[in-house]
C-alpha cells in the first residue's frame, strides 16, 4: 500500500495498513536538500527537489505545495522579509485600506510571477508523485485572505466595525481565493488544506464565525472543484468544529494541538476525517522519545475510530527540530499498526 492509497483509504473509511502520517515540512525541505530558503521558494525545480528530500528522508504520506503566504501579499504590492532561519514572512502589505482593495482588480493566479511559481512547483510535484504520494496544496481561507492584501489590523477593524464594507471586500476577494484553489487543483494537487484563522477561538468567538464567516466558507467551498481540509491555523477550533461537516467537498478537519481530539471526534461524528494534533512548537524542544510518546497518545485517541491522520498541528515544523522527532512520529504509527495486528497473527 503506497501513501496515496493509504491516505485515500483513510479518507474514505477503507481498511489501511497503518494510520497515515503528515508533517508540515516545507521550509525543512531546504535544510534536507541543502538549498537556501530563497532558492526553494523561487525556483520550482528546487522546491520539488526539497520535497523529494523530505519524502526520501522521512517517507511520510504527503508532499506539500509551497506554503508561503507572503507571495499572495507580494502579488498585491506587499513586501517579504526573507530570512535563512524561518519561512519568509509578510513584511508589509501592499494595500492600505479596504477602499483601495476594492479598487484593485483581482489577478488570475497564473498571471502573477510569485503565484505561478507555486503553481509550477505543484505541477512538478504532481508529475513525480501522482497516485504515489498525495500532493497537498495549501492556501489561506477566504475570510483571512484580505489580511494578506491589506494587513491584519485594517482587516480586523473592517470586519469588526464596518460589516457592510467587510462583506463587499469579501465579495471582491472571494473569486481570487476560488481561482487560486482551482488553479492548484488544476496543476495536480490532490487535496487542498485551507487555513482559516477566523475559525479559531483565539481570533473570533463562535457567534462571529457562524454569522459572518461560515456563509463565506460555504459559498466559496462550493465553487472549488476538489477535496478540502479545513485547517485551524495554529489555534483551537473545537468551538466551531460541529458547524463544519456538510461543507461542500470537506475531506477533513485539522485540529489544533490544544484541541481535545476525543472531544473533536464527538462533535463531528464518526465519518468526518480528523487530522492532528501534535504540538508544533514542541518539536524544537522535545526529544524523539517525547514526540514518540505524544504521537502514541494521539494514536490511542484518534486511531480506533478510523478516519484519522496523525500530524503536527500548526505551520512548518521548526528548522531547529531534530529529524529524529519526525522519524519518531512515523515509527509511532508503524508500531501502533503492529500492535493492532498482533492479536490476529
Amino acid at each position: 500500500m503506497n501513501s496515496y492509497q493509504r491516505v485515500m483509504g483513510t479518507l474514505t473509511g477503507q481498511p489501511v495498513d497503518r494510520v497515515p502520517v503528515f508533517a508540515v515540512l516545507g521550509a525543512y525541505g531546504a535544510k534536507l536538500s541543502g538549498a537556501s530558503l530563497n532558492r526553494i521558494f523561487t525556483d520550482p525545480a528546487s522546491y520539488a527537489e526539497s520535497q523529494t528530500a523530505v519524502q526520501t528522508t522521512f517517507g511520510l504520506d504527503l508532499v506539500m505545495t509551497p506554503f508561503i503566504y507572503t507571495f499572495i501579499s507580494e502579488s498585491f504590492g506587499g513586501e517579504t522579509a526573507w530570512s535563512e532561519h524561518q519561512v519568509p514572512n509578510m513584511k508589509r502589505p501592499g494595500i492600505g485600506s479596504p477602499a483601495k482593495l476594492l479598487s484593485t482588480p483581482m489577478p488570475a493566479p497564473e498571471d502573477v510571477p510569485r503565484l505561478s511559481f507555486i503553481l509550477e512547483a505543484t505541477r512538478q510535484l504532481a508529475k513525480s508523485y501522482r497516485e504515489k504520494v498525495p500532493v497537498i496544496g495549501v492556501l489561506p481561507g477566504p475570510c483571512i485572505m484580505p489580511s494578506l492584501m491589506m494587513g491584519i489590523g485594517p482587516w480586523m477593524e473592517t470586519v469588526l466595525f464596518e460589516e457592510t464594507l467587510a462583506r463587499k471586500v469579501l465579495d471582491h476577494t472571494n473569486p481570487f481565493f476560488v481561482s487560486l484553489a482551482n488553479a492548484l487543483l488544476a496543476q495536480g494537487a490532490d487535496c487542498l488544506v485551507i487555513t482559516e484563522a477566523m475559525a479559531t477561538v483565539e481570533i473570533a468567538p463562535r457567534a462571529l464565525f457562524e454569522e459572518r464567516f461560515l456563509p463565506v466558507v460555504a459559498q466559496t467551498f462550493s465553487q472549488i472543484r476538489g477535496p478540502k481540509v479545513f485547517h485551524h491555523t495554529g489555534g483551537r477550533i473545537n468551538h466551531v468544529i460541529d458547524l463544519l461537516p456538510g461543507l461542500d467537498g470537506l475531506a477533513g478537519v485539522a485540529i489544533g494541538s490544544r484541541d481535545d481530539l476525543g472531544e473533536a471526534r464527538r462533535l463531528v461524528g464518526g465519518e468526518t476525517n480528523l487530522i492532528g494534533n501534535l504540538d508544533n512548537l514542541g518539536f524544537a524542544s522535545s526529544s524523539a522519545t517525547e514526540i514518540y510518546e505524544m504521537s502514541r497518545r494521539c494514536l490511542l485517541e484518534g486511531a480506533p475510530h478510523g478516519h484519522y491522520i496523525l500530524s503536527n498541528s500548526g505551520a512548518d515544523i521548526p528548522l531547529s527540530a531534530s529529524p529524529d522527532t519526525v522519524h519518531a512520529m512515523k515509527r509511532a504509527a508503524e508500531d501502533h499498526a503492529g500492535a493492532r495486528r498482533e492479536p490476529h497473527e
Binding site: Q86, R92, G153, V201, P205
Partner: protein
C-alpha cells in the same frame, strides 16, 4: 452614578464589543462633569483590569480584545486634548517588535493600553534591531523595554537584546518585558530569551510594566 457603576457599564460594552455604546457611556460620564483623567483612572482602567481577568480565563478572543482596545483608544481621544500626550504619570517605556518580526497588531494594542494606563509610550514599530531598543531606552530614560515577537524563531532574536543590556551592566535596572503569541503557547520561552516577565495580553501589560518598573527602582 458613581465611577464604579460607570466602569461596570463600560466593561459590559467592551465585552459585548459595543463600540458605539461605549462611546455613549464616555460622553455621558464627561457630560456629568467627571474630570477626564478620573474617567481614565476610575472608569476605563478598572474595566481594562476586568477584561484582563476574562482573558486569563481564555474567555476572550482577539476580536473582542481588538474592540476593547479601540474603545480604550476612543476613550483616550475623548479624555486627552488633541495634540497632547496622556498624563504619562507612570514614566516612559519603549516598545517594538524584535528584528525580523513584522506582526504589529499585538504590539499596537499593547501600546494603546499602556498609553491608557498612563505610560509615555515610545513605539519603535516592526523589525527593530536590539541596539535601537537600548539606545532609545537610555535616551528617554525608560526603565522597561517591551519586546514583541509572534514566532519562536523571531523570539530568539530577543536574546541579543538581553546580552546588550547585560553587557552594559544594566541588568536589573533596565527591565525586559517580552510578549506575543508564542510566549502564551510556550511560557518557558520567556526565560529562554532572557525576559524579565511577560503578559498574556495587552490588557495585562500595564500590570507587568508597573511591576518591572518598581523592581527596577528598587535596584537603582
Amino acid at each position: 452614578m458613581d465611577s464604579v457603576s460607570w466602569s461596570k457599564r463600560l466593561f459590559a460594552a467592551m465585552v459585548g464589543a459595543d463600540r458605539l455604546g461605549a462611546t455613549d457611556i464616555i460622553d455621558q460620564v464627561l457630560a456629568e462633569g467627571m474630570d477626564p483623567h478620573t474617567v481614565i483612572s476610575e472608569v476605563l482602567d478598572p474595566a481594562i483590569v476586568e477584561l484582563g481577568r476574562l482573558w486569563e480565563g481564555q474567555e476572550m478572543s482577539l476580536s473582542q480584545n481588538f474592540v476593547a482596545s479601540k474603545i480604550a483608544e476612543d476613550t483616550l481621544l475623548k479624555c486627552i486634548p488633541a495634540g497632547s500626550q496622556s498624563q504619562g504619570t507612570k514614566g516612559p517605556v519603549v516598545i517594538g517588535n524584535i528584528e525580523d518580526d513584522f506582526h504589529s497588531l499585538g504590539r499596537h494594542t499593547v501600546g494603546l493600553f499602556l498609553n491608557a494606563a498612563g505610560w509615555t509610550v515610545h513605539d519603535l514599530g516592526n523589525d527593530v534591531p536590539p541596539e535601537l531598543f537600548l539606545e532609545t531606552a537610555l535616551k528617554v530614560g525608560a526603565s522597561v523595554i517591551g519586546v514583541s515577537a509572534m514566532m519562536q524563531t523571531t523570539a530568539h532574536n530577543i536574546l541579543r537584546l538581553r546580552h546588550l543590556i547585560d553587557d552594559q551592566g544594566l541588568a536589573g535596572k533596565l527591565k525586559l518585558a517580552v510578549g506575543g503569541a508564542v510566549f502564551n503557547w510556550r511560557p518557558d520561552l520567556v526565560a529562554e530569551v532572557g525576559g524579565d516577565g511577560s503578559a498574556r495580553n495587552a490588557i495585562s501589560a500595564d500590570g507587568l510594566f508597573t511591576r518591572l518598573d518598581r523592581e527596577s527602582r528598587e535596584v537603582a
